[in-house]
């Protein structure tokens, strides 16, 4: 399965790129993170603090246990600071 993975704010800075295409068999967001984390030091740094991690699956807020299913786009970012 091929996914677009997006990063925002300081996760984007740590990973070093705003998006990447990954091929994965991960069942849940948490499984995907385990795979991404192994990709580079930057990825490891981005996912170091899981308490400050938020994600969206196909542009809907999700949690780490959310199934990836047939999703096309998974985004990772810190807690939002809008308004």
């Amino acid at each position: 399965m091929t996914l677009e993975v997006l990063y925002f704010a300081w996760l984007r800075e740590r990973v070093g790129q705003p998006r990447e295409t990954v091929t994965t068999d991960a069942a849940t967001v948490r499984d995907l993170i385990a795979e991404l984390r192994a990709q580079s030091e930057g990825h490891a740094a981005a996912f170091a603090d899981m308490a400050s991690l938020r994600c969206a699956v196909d542009q809907q807020l999700a949690d780490l246990e959310s199934p990836i299913g047939s999703a096309r786009e998974i985004a990772f970012f810190p807690p939002m600071t809008g308004g």
């Binding site: 925002f8 704010a9 300081w10 542009q59 809907q60 985004a75 807690p79 939002m80 809008g82 308004g83």
Partner: protein, 144 residues
Amino acid sequence: MTARVQTAPFDLAAEMAGFGLRAGALVTFTGVVRDDTGLMAALEIEHYPGMTERALQDYGMQAAARFDLTDWRIIHRHGRIPVGDPIMMVATAARHRHAAFQGADYLMDWLKSRAPFWKREIATDGTATWVTAKSSDEDALNRW
């Protein structure tokens, strides 16, 4: 019943022209870039194109259903926004004042913690610092 994401400044006056015409109560909230220390030049706001528009639309529709709003509007800027400039606004229209107030208050709590925007403070010396989410904003959301 519109949500907009834009880099351009907006004008409260222009936005309110014709807004909620048949309602009895109109509430607006405007957030402005504040400089508490005298050292801040601007905010720089990143967002998630695609998801942002959808999220704002969802929150607006949720607020409308919950508080029986006859109209609502959300505008949120991204990009670089200098001190003193408006960042975002919400407007709500309802028959009665409590609904209009609550609708706007509710929307603000959602936007603060659940809309995909990330703020960075740009100091006058050029240094940039990501704004940290406040637990009080999360608490505010849990009121509803």
